[in-house]
Subunit: 276 residues, 6 copies
Amino acid sequence: MFYHSGKLQYEVRCDSPNPVFAKYLQQAIGGIEGEIRVAMQYFFQAMGARGNPKYRDMLMMTATEELSHIEFLCHAVALNLEGAPLTEREAAAKLNPVVHAIMGGLNPRHVLSSGLSAMPVNANGIPFDMSHIYASGNIAGDMMANVTAEATGRTLASRLYNMTDDAGMKDMLSFLIARDTMHQQQWLAVIEDLGGIEATMPIPNSTPEEHENLEHSYYFLNTSLDEPTPQGVWTNGGPTMDGRGTFTARDKAEPMGQKPDLGKAREHSGAQKQQM
Amino acid sequence: MFYHSGKLQYEVRCDSPNPVFAKYLQQAIGGIEGEIRVAMQYFFQAMGARGNPKYRDMLMMTATEELSHIEFLCHAVALNLEGAPLTEREAAAKLNPVVHAIMGGLNPRHVLSSGLSAMPVNANGIPFDMSHIYASGNIAGDMMANVTAEATGRTLASRLYNMTDDAGMKDMLSFLIARDTMHQQQWLAVIEDLGGIEATMPIPNSTPEEHENLEHSYYFLNTSLDEPTPQGVWTNGGPTMDGRGTFTARDKAEPMGQKPDLGKAREHSGAQKQQM
Amino acid sequence: MFYHSGKLQYEVRCDSPNPVFAKYLQQAIGGIEGEIRVAMQYFFQAMGARGNPKYRDMLMMTATEELSHIEFLCHAVALNLEGAPLTEREAAAKLNPVVHAIMGGLNPRHVLSSGLSAMPVNANGIPFDMSHIYASGNIAGDMMANVTAEATGRTLASRLYNMTDDAGMKDMLSFLIARDTMHQQQWLAVIEDLGGIEATMPIPNSTPEEHENLEHSYYFLNTSLDEPTPQGVWTNGGPTMDGRGTFTARDKAEPMGQKPDLGKAREHSGAQKQQM
Amino acid sequence: MFYHSGKLQYEVRCDSPNPVFAKYLQQAIGGIEGEIRVAMQYFFQAMGARGNPKYRDMLMMTATEELSHIEFLCHAVALNLEGAPLTEREAAAKLNPVVHAIMGGLNPRHVLSSGLSAMPVNANGIPFDMSHIYASGNIAGDMMANVTAEATGRTLASRLYNMTDDAGMKDMLSFLIARDTMHQQQWLAVIEDLGGIEATMPIPNSTPEEHENLEHSYYFLNTSLDEPTPQGVWTNGGPTMDGRGTFTARDKAEPMGQKPDLGKAREHSGAQKQQM
Amino acid sequence: MFYHSGKLQYEVRCDSPNPVFAKYLQQAIGGIEGEIRVAMQYFFQAMGARGNPKYRDMLMMTATEELSHIEFLCHAVALNLEGAPLTEREAAAKLNPVVHAIMGGLNPRHVLSSGLSAMPVNANGIPFDMSHIYASGNIAGDMMANVTAEATGRTLASRLYNMTDDAGMKDMLSFLIARDTMHQQQWLAVIEDLGGIEATMPIPNSTPEEHENLEHSYYFLNTSLDEPTPQGVWTNGGPTMDGRGTFTARDKAEPMGQKPDLGKAREHSGAQKQQM
Amino acid sequence: MFYHSGKLQYEVRCDSPNPVFAKYLQQAIGGIEGEIRVAMQYFFQAMGARGNPKYRDMLMMTATEELSHIEFLCHAVALNLEGAPLTEREAAAKLNPVVHAIMGGLNPRHVLSSGLSAMPVNANGIPFDMSHIYASGNIAGDMMANVTAEATGRTLASRLYNMTDDAGMKDMLSFLIARDTMHQQQWLAVIEDLGGIEATMPIPNSTPEEHENLEHSYYFLNTSLDEPTPQGVWTNGGPTMDGRGTFTARDKAEPMGQKPDLGKAREHSGAQKQQM
């Protein structure tokens, strides 16, 4: 069950409101790299968690923290929209001769739809959709998804930090960058806790070996007609990351299958007579 | 530039066509765990790759392999749809008394829209959308996204393997399981090639330290009112995965920010008079 | 800032797990009538609230309650999926001769994607998308949106109640029906608190009268060629709900505008020569 | 059955075409507050209407009017796009030095995709999707949805009115503001016609009382840890809006349920061995 | 401006209601092959039509007819849902032993969301989205899009005809098949009216020849490594359909471009140090 | 099976990078008129092709070519993003006084999400979704869909050509315009190869005549109340395009159906008591 405090997790100041930066900040709320995504992802992973309950609890605790991140980011968007022009006259007075440009640079829906406040959308105004909640029932796969989410999140926060010179915004973003650091660390720490990369690979590690055509499990396939196989750890003949095999490469990919031929179309199938 | 051979990468047989299994298989084509996703993800990562070009080439070679996976899976769907009922009469003749059930169990659009062939949709009939292509311009983040994609892919292939007893389908899926193993390995191998987890963390590792509020970078935050902090690698006081800090925990999360108060609504903002 | 307790807001029992009912229950999580929608809607309304802060606090408190509803519904879905068939063999053993039907009746992604747990999707498996979060910056409009959301929510909960005979599920749903009753009441109570329907209408009530062509504000327009104007409060000549006018009707709708003619296409516009 | 006149419902003039305002106007066509939405919503409610047919007829008549609104708004968008730059040269000639800004401020697809005419998209260029058609089969819930739609519609029209100083556009919008006033009134009038708020609440009013856990139907739940319960009509001990109860509040929300624990993962579920 | 008659364009009877067929019929309402699509497509093409106004009028007249098709199809869906089970008990009474199967075969939202009436969704329950409205401002391209839409529409209607043995449904569908025939014919007739295929090709025919690299305009490119060029009209050396060239083939596709190399990542770009 | 060369199909140069034009170019990658669409459309049509296999091979060969078009367009986007501002300071230094305008004119996600490279989105930043893949199992309908796709593609390429004065971009686009010409021709040539328009119409031509209510197959229906029937090939009494009938018109459209009346709502349907 959830509870709330009236105060924000972190203080939000905005010295020089910028409605175009408000549009950019939306990516951290409703973008695929944003906070709605991680909050909901950890929440749904927690609700489907099976096995040691400590991972479930950890997921729910961090889901709860992420809800607080959405909250202060929403406040930051609203503060950046303070003073945005609400009439053609306001726009013209302040901003001539680039009035059209400002009207174009804003997310129009910050004026038209939300009345100068945050929306659950990304920097293009596209609403977040929940297909991005990765919760597979496999804890190792989910941890990789979480490291990914926090990697994109910290990359985004760093890019936003670069795009503003407002001290308040920079301070808030430096907090987000820090928390994303920790969240990357903690999900990797779960992999360690489960025995480390080798013990958890390949994902899922419960697939019986007889379900896998092992002949094809450990070669890099070069499908290029004119480029040499790139050399690296994946071709060096060393052990694979799961400790079950040896890395090799196949320089020449050959088809192993048939020509796919579906024959003629059936009556009543809605095809043309010429196909029957 | 791309080229094509008339033969499939792997042979596809289907001994007992099953139109309901055809619906399930669609998840491996148009699901977020599926092959369109990885093909396009590696393709777009390759097109945005900066730095050592060997990683770009590797991404493009595997993107090309994934296109071949889409291809043979599409053929598998079509083979499973051979013989599906196209008329009420056919349905009734073969399948009575569960004719309605079969009509309900099929993806109706396999009959109505595609004329008994594969579609770029998932097992719920939802078309794949390209928001799921993760290509951030950060190679370490992208590799984590790729391991995630292959983890969900191998989990899916294993579950599909369990849900069929058709020998041809099982053979094809055991090949997919194998290739997903390799793809998990090779993307992890890139992380090794870049110096390993510690050297690549946190992502992005180019964010200047002064952009990060380091005070908040290494504690696990317990946001629960009644649960103890779960104990594990993330709380054991050991070094963090990036080698920059020490794992600790804060058992009691306190708000650090203000109450968010936006004051009164402005004239012309479309609010109610009562808000002004 | 948000906090969490390890216990659910309400107890969830499921005596006879039913994976098809799990699919139905998803509508209450990820449907437009569901709990993610109201949680996020009240949250975003709170974050954009201007004027008397008591409404903001009220919105956030109920947003927080709705998060707890998502939580126990997710648990209910997972409990209904206990024992769902994971292999063709399990399916055949238990459920013959309608094995295909059961495979068709399930949401396939409950097996393939989530590993027998809840997803942020509706009963058709369609992920919730945040375009459904109505938060306009106008408190009266938002209250109407909230009554609507709770009306659809209580309708849905009642229909789900009818579709199960599991005592645990019925008990949980009777709690939801009750809370949806209260939430309908409380949002209507806010309208009362703001002065009642007449004082808050039309929405927004801050639009200056000179922005409105009042000649067209109070007649019902009959656009039918052969049906009489339906008679009722809206045609009875009484005062309108906002107290500003009198209800009348126009039985014959006539065009007041011009024929829309865009003339010829411009050079460089990508049109056909025949249009230029 | 539908019919059409060649003339618009209302006259549309545009004295100074503005392609950026064309982008803004799109919200009134393809936005969730726009005319496609209400046209289709009333249409589908009419098609599912059961009970007294006068409400069905009323819905269809207003659906028909809304189709005419889409029509004249589309013409308004096209008129605002007259003269928009179609080549880099035109852009540079007219608009230097802000040529890039204008290219950025436009919806690019007004040039690239529609050839200077309206599209069924919102101000962010996002196509309208029909998930926003609320038609529940419950007339009281539907009326609330309709008041909501018209409230957002009139709020939008008012905001658009403020953002232009073109006399023709202002005239057209003042007509829309007026019609949205009436439509708010008429749907509220249907509630009156059905017996008023008390008689129609809670929605649906056909849910048997024994399906509702009435103990939980009439208290406001304070889920905050540090904020007092906001005081108002919803806490004043007066009768609830449905006349069935008395408003109270619970200041301290306590969990009533269990810890949600799903135990171990099953074999064949695609989980990790560590979860089994 | 639009008007309405209270009667349907065509009579709808349903002798034996079938809720699973109701789900199938939805494809003709909210599918990409359905009637919302053509109604809106012709409407938006009409609103953007430039050049001879007779084509605009024709488009609007047929748009209006398609609205009437949506209407009677919605009624057909509702009639097929009469008698669908609303409670577990009703389901069990009528349909045992396949009660779960029927619950699975239905679109659950026909019970849960619409209360036994039509929705603007396809046979998978996916809401129609307006990105499918093709209206390019080029009349020849639009006519091709319209023939395509009617081809998919008539194919769908034929497949639905096959999937029912209800006489009323078959009668209604035979009317739809007929009208789709005419609509295919009339859009092709517009091409004739504009001068025929040769005069309208290539689309757009207003692109100046110097904007086209004519060297590459008339050869079929064989990109296969092992298949011969398929022989047909497109390789027979005859004149092309636009009368401007001669069909040829290139059997061996060779890259003409460079290796795409983006060099190193810039500082502040959020990349890894290893890419810089 | 697919293969790749390290070189692009066509050379890409960009003399003066323009990040706003990069946004425009995205329409040719991820727009409905773009290259992902045609690549995937031809691919899925090939996978479902039944009848003479030469059409399947042709589809797959051109699908393969379109993959190469996506590739060089992605490179073009990245080249246009070289030098785009990554910090507020860079933006201010170069672009003052229109710094906000440039930040607004860019697709923010080219900076925030992709790190200056192409994305699978359109010019509004909306990800491509696979619902636009038309592959019906009817070869004639599919060919019409393909001509349509190439018509919109060539129209788009022409409009993009007009919007840039970069010589490299113009050169690349003149190649695309040429290839789109050929692709329009070749799909029309398939219609010829199948016997021409008359032999392939109406689509599908395998629908038995007794499934069609031929009385309604060949008249144009005037649904206007005040406009005369537009005159043209479709009303001239000549033979229809399928050679089966004669074009006529009905000037006065009359309803042929009943009033749609659904009666009262059922118990347990979630309706209001007032509807029962």
